[in-house]
């Protein structure tokens, strides 16, 4: 039985909101690491997660505003903010790996949210996060640890979520729900990993 995205609307806002909070925590931990080490890769990671968090937060707040005000334009603006902010965020996260490897020697109708996840925009995000996911998998294969595993699963889940968002824009609307759940799982993996990092010492 296919999942009806209409029934899911509202939960996606909550999941986006929690995910943005997790993204800000990861950004904050990267900021602390940058302050102490002065490594540019941490700075790029920090900014990457902050931009990703801003995108998710803007999307959730504006979607909520659309429900309250019944002004559907908020959904479009929210997705635009999400897309721009996320593309910058992913580019910065990808940049953090490049810096590390190369540069340093050292109640709105449910149809609306379905339409707003565009195939082209999601495919751009898919490519960016795909490269990051592959890089994290390579890191895991080279030196296995639980934290690396969690980060790899997180990026892989987010990659799959964008794949779902992209496909659902063309067909299979149910994938919107699965995409949101996968993205949420991804950010929860970041949360678990960050809790493990913070507990160090």
């Amino acid at each position: 039985m296919p999942i009806k995205p209409m029934l899911f609307f509202g939960y996606d806002i909550i999941m986006s909101f929690i995910s943005s909070f997790v993204a800000f925590i990861v950004g904050y931990q990267a900021y602390r690491a940058h302050t102490i080490t002065r490594k540019k890769s941490f700075l790029a990671l920090e900014l990457g997660f902050i931009f990703t968090g801003i995108g998710l937060l803007a999307d959730s707040i504006l979607s909520y505003a659309a429900i309250l005000s019944r002004v559907s334009h908020f959904l479009g603006i929210g997705y635009l903010a999400y897309f721009i902010s996320t593309i910058i965020g992913y580019a910065l996260i990808l940049g953090s790996y490049i810096i590390d490897r190369v540069m340093v020697e050292e109640a709105v109708p449910a149809i609306v949210p379905i339409m707003r996840y565009g195939a082209l925009s999601e495919s751009i995000l898919l490519v960016l996060i795909g490269v990051v996911a592959i890089q994290s998998m390579i890191n895991l294969l080279m030196d296995r640890s639980l934290n690396k595993f969690l980060i790899s699963i997180a990026f892989a889940s987010i990659f799959l979520s964008h794949l779902c968002f992209m496909i659902q824009a063309l067909a299979f609307a149910s994938l919107l729900v699965i995409g949101h759940i996968l993205r949420f799982i991804g950010f929860m993996m970041f949360a678990v990993s960050i809790i493990r990092v913070v507990k160090t010492g």
Partner: protein, 86 residues
């Protein structure tokens, strides 16, 4: 070929040695795996930054040094999780 060890990693090893082992030079040398001259250079720098203090030939972490070590350990864990070099 010996794996490359960054300056940060060396400082982390020295501070960990002082914190977990005794603060005697011989123990730090063993733990940090450095030559005597290089270790003394690092210790001098850490003393200047008030991260460690010397009492009767033994080194101890200061409050500032202990906090720095904790932050450095977290940064190392984060770098390890994301697969960054540290």
């Amino acid at each position: 070929m010996k794996p490359y060890r960054s300056r940060l990693k060396i400082i982390l090893d020295i501070l960990t040695a002082i914190n977990e082992e005794s603060g005697k030079i011989s123990k730090i040398l063993l733990y940090a795996n450095l030559s005597y001259d290089r270790l003394m250079k690092y210790l001098k720098e850490l003393l200047e930054k008030e991260l460690i203090e010397e009492k009767m030939g033994e080194y101890k972490l200061t409050e500032k040094g202990y906090k720095f070590l904790e932050e450095l350990k977290r940064a190392e864990k984060l770098a390890e999780a994301f697969g960054f070099r540290f």
